[in-house]
Symmetry: C2
Subunit: 304 residues, 2 copies
DNA sequence: CTTGATCAATACTTAATACCTAATGATTGA
DNA sequence: TCAATCATTAGGTATTAAGTATTGATCAAG
């Protein structure tokens, strides 16, 4: 009837044991229960279902057709319950779920890429969504809750955010292969004083922009930015086309754009930070962060 | 933990409503429950699972990752419970299950065949297993519990069996088409006094055998059985081959064996009976029997 | 900063019911 | 017919779910 709301898992647990033993006494013993209680519960179950589940002959108990049908369902449901409990616990411990990661331009080619790959291998049930975004958009997404964690090159302190260091990345001068300055293996920043520059707008990554400006200031000049470009890919492309020179994070080198060469800048590096919203952290995120911190520590020891 | 044994469907029912409303007060109202009771039960559920299911901010309730995972499972399980209850009730009312029917030679070509076909159409979820068997084997199978119901042509009274009439079937004389007697449209049994006979052994169907013998006795002779044959198919084949004459139930005519003609015997008919073991009757069987009785009643009125 | 409103959690009581023990009933085998 | 073996019924107890009243925490408005 409509009475199935009275059905409880207890009924299923008791029933399956009786159906297995086909003997109320033994079943009761297995359940650490008195035999009358068990009989009562089974009777109640039959009442709820509106169907007799056992043929009770005084010396033999047998399943009815309805009993056999219900037995199949009951066993399956009890298995499903265990599976559900397990799945929930897995989710609770961060072994399953969805992880939404943001990262700055090209960062997947750095040690972060390896860290993510390792994490994916060890947590195959976690779906990892990756989005390459500029710093400002990552921060906005993290604050909106659209992103769990962001990896940015120039995190400014922000009261609404949790910011932790992840790694450091050297800065490089990038210039056209055919450029006269490209002949030298080592190149001071000051050599770029009279060159035309290609650079991203300040709003894209304020701190990194600031750092480039400082480097130039310390070398005694203000860069002559002929062309602005919002995408690193474009910036490097313009350098490769001979439009100008620029300074980029080391990972960009991995792109190995035809016609562009890189020169190190001693002691110049940018901080890569992990950014997330303050407040409660979902288990998947928690697990990812702790794995990432371990990986970062290792990388530090190994030296990038 | 190992504590999932404390989990009850009540927890799932309460949880799903809270997850749906995302508000303990409204959920409690929907469940006709006080808010504290509901809070307590949800907390208990979280304790059993070892996982927090809701993030409770004082003015907002939200599902955790684990909660979302559990919600999916919970909804599915509650649906499964309803399905299981329904399936069990269906089985209890005889709408599902397996029906094992036995029937005497050729009886599927009679009104029984139509009855079974009708039943199958109306109860598509019942698996009907059909076995053509001689009377003695049907009775043995019914007693063993290997057969639910048998349809036999000559049921002797038996204390271990339930025997009910199902239909009557006329008896026919069968003889070779080229036989001199085949010229007559009507043929008295006495005309077969001097003919060689083909007949089944008495053990195959004692009552039918007895009846044939009585018909001959009443016609003033004892049949000269030249050839015994356990299968009707063979018997008719032998008649068609000109080995002898015989008497068969009318349904055999349906086989329309080349070279065999049939002649009616007025007022001679055999009873077809339904045979089953005494004691409890499974719902499927119950449903089949009542359907069959109705069909039989209709056939009686209609006249075979 | 305070006040009021909104919810969930806590403390404690009451009511429901699952469980126990003891006795009864029913059937089968010796 | 007796004894044995189970399941059911009866009545009391203990567990626990549910109820009431209250507290506590958080946020919005004055």
């Amino acid at each position: 009837m409509i009475d199935s709301a009275r059905l409880e898992l207890r009924h299923l647990r008791y029933f399956t044991v009786v159906a297995d033993e086909l003997h109320f006494g033994r079943a009761a013993a297995r359940l650490s229960l008195s035999q009358p209680s068990l009989s009562l519960q089974v009777k109640q179950l039959e009442d709820i279902l509106g169907a007799r589940l056992f043929d009770r002959h005084s010396r033999r108990v047998a399943l009815t057709d309805a009993g056999r049908v219900f037995m199949e369902s009951a066993l399956r449901m009890l298995r499903d319950v265990d599976a559900a409990v397990l799945a929930t616990q897995q989710a609770n411990e961060g072994h399953t779920g969805t992880l939404r990661l943001g990262f700055g331009p090209m960062l997947m080619l750095s040690s972060l890429g390896r860290a993510v790959q390792t994490y994916r291998a060890r947590h195959p049930s976690v779906q990892v969504d990756l989005r390459e975004l500029p710093t400002s958009e990552q921060i906005a997404a993290v604050l909106r809750g659209d992103l769990d964690v962001g990896f940015v090159r120039d995190a400014e302190p922000d009261a609404r955010l949790h910011v932790e260091p992840f790694a450091r990345e050297p800065l490089l001068i990038a210039l056209h292969r055919g450029h006269p300055l490209a002949a030298a293996k080592r190149l001071p920043v000051s050599a770029l004083a009279r060159e035309p520059w290609v650079l991203f707008p300040r709003a894209i990554a304020p701190l990194l922009h600031e750092q480039v400006m400082r480097l130039c200031r310390e070398a005694g000049f203000t860069p002559d930015v002929r062309q602005e470009s919002r995408e690193v890919y474009t910036t490097v492309g313009l350098v490769g086309a001979g439009v100008g020179v620029t300074i980029v994070p080391a990972t960009v080198q991995r792109m190995s754009w035809k016609g562009v060469v890189y020169r190190p800048i001693p002691r110049a590096s940018v901080q890569i930070s992990i950014v997330r919203a303050i407040g409660p952290v979902r288990p998947v995120v928690e697990a990812f962060l702790s794995a990432t911190h371990k990986a970062a520590a290792k990388t530090m020891k190994a030296g990038v």
